[in-house]
Symmetry: C2
Subunit: 302 residues, 2 copies
């Protein structure tokens, strides 16, 4: 079962308490694609500039990631620069150079159109719908968004959400999208907008998933060293949807395992800058860490 | 197996976004004792003033809570007044009238001295040790503390911790006690001070327990209505230690179940002001909610 992902492919310059990385590979589609590629084929749709070369593409080579949809445009690649606070829970954006990403209009190659799962990364909700209009009949549509769109294009966000089965956002976004501070109330309001399943990412505090069959809570793995949280949410989404698609299932049990798999991939991602840790990762390491989550959370009945 | 608890018995005046409660029963020993009393006998050590009457004592009557250790002193009962922010995660103390609590010197009645479990509520670490000197040979000593003592009497806190098996504190206290921001590092540092088991309470984000056999993460129950968080941590401690003592076990499996039981009791406590919800609670409701935690956290192996 193949997954189509549309989102940013970027250069990131990141400062964290543990160091600095200059113009390294980033972007939501990059993290998502590499994480999802452990479980099956990924069709990547994005745009880069002429400054994005074979060295950067190497991250995607040798994996089941199709790059026909990665457009090359005149100009420079999207560049984001940010600095994390000491606690890694907040960050300041120092600059955002959209560059070619400003003119991004997702064009879905013909052979991507039968993709069975779609992940709409955090782009303009109008573009998200344009992607859906170019695919045939995906079994699962998952989506991310952010405060910039929630406040800037609220009606368009609502329109997109009508066509989405799974929304993955962070706790603050869930509060702003719903206008409810309480996450249980927020989830009810958001699920009434369209998505049957809402996955709320809480960073170091883990994930809450609200669905037809109740609520699931998964912790994040307590880590002693977090080098760079950039991309953790997109890595989570890639592990989540990649695993889910590979099961061919859509029920609550598969969704729960997918949340843990997403958390597993994200726990690796933050151990190094950029995609560095994901690029050395093996399926054996993934499965071993999934079992660590079992050990972390298990308890007996009374 | 009986539990001795020493701590505050107080009047609380509390404002939350959902209402206000004036001079209602509060204090760490009150919440702890009622929560623990669902699992076995509790010996309460504290102090109240002449303004603390039979109406307040009614909360403890009809439960296996021994009040011989609840001293009556000339003067007024400890009174705390606070106001919670909209998000319920932070609160301002409006006033703290220590009253008789300022002169509290725990005196352990003779028939409490064989208590098999001891909970040292959040009082002066010197007084905490005086309690331990008056008991014979408890199988489990658990302890709470707070920033006021961590900063004000650091050497005394360290001295007390040498005699404690289980420390229950919140995440901010763990960071301040250890000087480490990262909770994994903080746990290692704190466990080197004495407690074999560290339970870190993270409010709505649940609990992390660090012990000899690894780490356990339990979520808080996502609640739609939280009326008053006051006493949730002490209720957690009461459910945790009350249940643990009742099992007669001390291993990792029992500690994990105890964490979930503490979380269960705390999830009820916040549903109403003061001890109101705990006072109508039944063992059947407790066991049903424990099973809700099983449903909230279960996921399958790969």
């Amino acid at each position: 079962m193949s997954i189509l992902v549309v989102g940013s492919v970027a250069y990131d310059t990141v400062e964290t308490p543990l160091g600095r990385a200059e113009r390294v590979l980033g972007g939501s589609a990059s993290f998502f694609a590499v994480a999802a590629s452990f479980f099956g084929p990924v069709n990547l749709v994005g745009v880069v500039g002429r400054d994005f070369g074979e060295a950067q593409l190497a991250a995607f080579r040798g994996r089941p990631i199709d790059l026909e949809g990665l457009e090359r445009m005149e100009g420079k690649t999207f560049h984001w620069q940010g600095r994390y606070a000491h606690d890694l829970n907040s960050r300041d954006t120092i600059c955002t150079d959209l560059n070619v990403f400003e003119f991004f209009e997702p064009k879905i190659p013909r052979r991507y159109r039968g993709s069975e799962a779609v992940f709409l990364g955090n782009i303009d909700p109008v573009l998200q719908r344009q992607v859906l209009e170019q695919v045939e009949r995906p079994r699962v549509v998952a989506c991310d968004t952010m405060n910039f769109w929630i406040h800037g294009k609220p009606a368009e966000v609502r329109e997109t959400l009508k066509r989405v089965q799974i929304l993955l956002i962070n706790d603050q976004e869930a509060r702003e999208l719903s206008g409810e501070w309480n996450l249980v109330k927020a989830a009810r309001a958001i699920r009434a907008m369209g998505p049957r399943t809402l996955v709320v990412k809480k960073g170091e505090h883990g994930v809450l998933m609200f669905g037809d069959e109740g609520t699931f809570a998964a912790p994040a793995l307590p880590l002693e060293v977090v080098v760079d949280p950039t991309g953790a949410g997109d890595t989570f989404a890639g592990g989540f949807l990649g695993y889910l698609a590979s099961t061919g299932q859509e029920g609550d049990d598969a969704l729960r395992r997918a949340v843990v798999m997403g958390s597993t991939l994200a726990s690796f991602s933050v151990e190094a800058f950029s995609l560095d840790r994901l690029l050395t990762l093996t399926r054996g390491e993934i499965d071993a860490r999934y079992r660590e989550f079992e050990g972390l959370t298990r308890f007996e009945s009374l």
